[in-house]
Amino acid sequence: MFDIEKIRAEFPILSQQIHGRPLAYLDNAATTQKPQSVIDAVRRYYEEDNANVHRGVHALSERATAAYEGARKTVGGFFNTRSVREVVFTRGTTEAINLVASSWGRANIKAGDEILITHMEHHSNIVPWQMLCEQTGAILKVVPINQAGELLMDEFDALLTERTKLVGVVHMSNALGTVNPVADIVRRAHAAGAKVLIDGAQAAAHLPVDVQALDCDFYVTSAHKMYGPTGIGVLIGRESLLREMPPYQGGGDMIRMVTFEKTEYNDLPYKFEAGTPHIAGAIGFGKALEFIRGIGFDAIEKREKELLAYATAKAADFDGLTPIGTAEDKACVLSFVLKGIHPHDLGTILDREGVAIRAGHHCAMPVMQFYKVPATARASFSVYNSEAEVDALFAALTRAQEIFG
């Protein structure tokens, strides 16, 4: 049974007041809050087990290593990787994409090749590919979207050619909420001989992801959008690809043997984890995934759909509100503009009413350009949000209209 009060009680931060009002945290697409179990796991690690990993023979180092590698197993299990060798810890989604663009890209991309992304990508799935194209002479192509914020799949097919070496696509858009048909995209891309990277920064907390079923080549995400700590995320890569890729950064941990003449690189996944990793972060990440599994995606999806439907219905009745992003398949995001009030002003006014939303371009400026708006206001939901918080959002919007009278 889904018990929202019980879930909310697990998040200590939620029970506070902001400017004298109960906090309604509706900025989950930026980052989610952390349950007590994650906070405790990070604290316990520093209080009881802290040591460097993979290099000490003493008890603490062995415990730290076991906890860190245990987290890797949890992540692998959560995304159903073939083995833990496919689980590379990174600082987050951004670093994971840069790793692929830099390591896989430089080894596999040459002048005239094409990288195909979509119009709804986050800057972190645009800029690394632009940089790669600049360095190699490859060409960046963009799949257009329609007014609802859905990919034009016919255009995708037309843009996908034998020159396409990689398709980079966001699983769920942070600016629009659109959930893209990634399994279908992978199938079509593979048929054309292209590899696929899926940006799961938004999706992974809201939808079950099975990388083997998806058959994608790279899947990347950030722990902090999944109830885990900041500063940690993951690149899940197909082992056969990771094995052939050159290292990303050089340093400790990623080597087996160093002489001044030659260095032998370590096995997967360590080849891509140079330097002391974010051990506490990885442990917290593992705990966060256990938290999600404890609720289960059936319950999460059902609940979040309910909440989005509730908010969407209210939005439809709200005078002067234009939703941005109305895809058939969408999740957890209500992006909108309000007539006569700039999103930035909404952000400030809502904050004073205790309602935290994001106002801006959401690191997706091309999406703003498509809709010809400078910015949008975005409420984004999570498993702990309530109908009362959605009500608070709309009450605060009414207050904003009064002020701007």
């Binding site: 400017h19 004298g20 006569g340 009030i341 700039h342 999103p343 930035h344 002003d345 400030t348 006014i349 004073r352 106002a359 801006g360 371009h361 400026m365 703003m368 400078p374 910015a375 207050r399 002020i403 701007f404 009278g405």
Partner: protein, 151 residues
């Protein structure tokens, strides 16, 4: 408690709705772009300055939040007929007002109507919205080719 009305005073709401001196001047001898990368606000300021260094006419174009539009609107109203030196003094006083302690009263004598923007100091994330137009003015007076930035 601090009220939203202290930030969104009626004057500000009005200037946002009906910005004064909005549009491109037919005759101008200085202009510059201003950009706030944080929120994407964009401004362009046009100035007609006499040989004696007096601002004869000034206007702005662009899009932004109520604070940045109202601030630009109020600024352009206040600048007309002022010397460059007076502009500098106003800029200094305005910046001081936007970042000073709440207890400190703004300099009404220099700032006049612009004191309605004093409320921003209670909203640290919004101070740059109010000062963008002033940075842009500065760039225009110097004929800077680089857009003025608040960051």
């Amino acid at each position: 408690m601090f009220d939203l009305r202290d930030l969104y005073q009626q004057v500000i709401v009005d200037h946002n709705k009906r910005p004064r001196n909005f549009g491109k001047l037919t005759e101008f001898n200085h202009d510059a772009d201003g950009y706030n990368p944080l929120c994407g606000d964009k401004l362009h300021i046009y100035l007609q300055v006499s040989d004696a260094g007096v601002i004869e006419n000034v206007s702005f174009e662009g899009e932004g939040c109520a604070i940045s539009v109202a601030s630009a609107s109020l600024m352009t109203d206040a600048l007309k007929g002022k010397t460059m030196q007076q502009c500098e003094e106003m800029f200094g006083q305005f910046q001081h007002m936007a970042t000073s302690d709440l207890a400190e009263a703004p300099d009404e004598e220099v700032l006049g109507k612009l004191t309605v923007l004093a409320g921003v100091r209670e909203f640290p994330s919004r101070i740059k919205c109010a000062t963008l137009c002033w940075h842009t003015l500065h760039a225009a007076l110097k004929d800077s080719a680089e857009p003025a930035k608040t960051e």
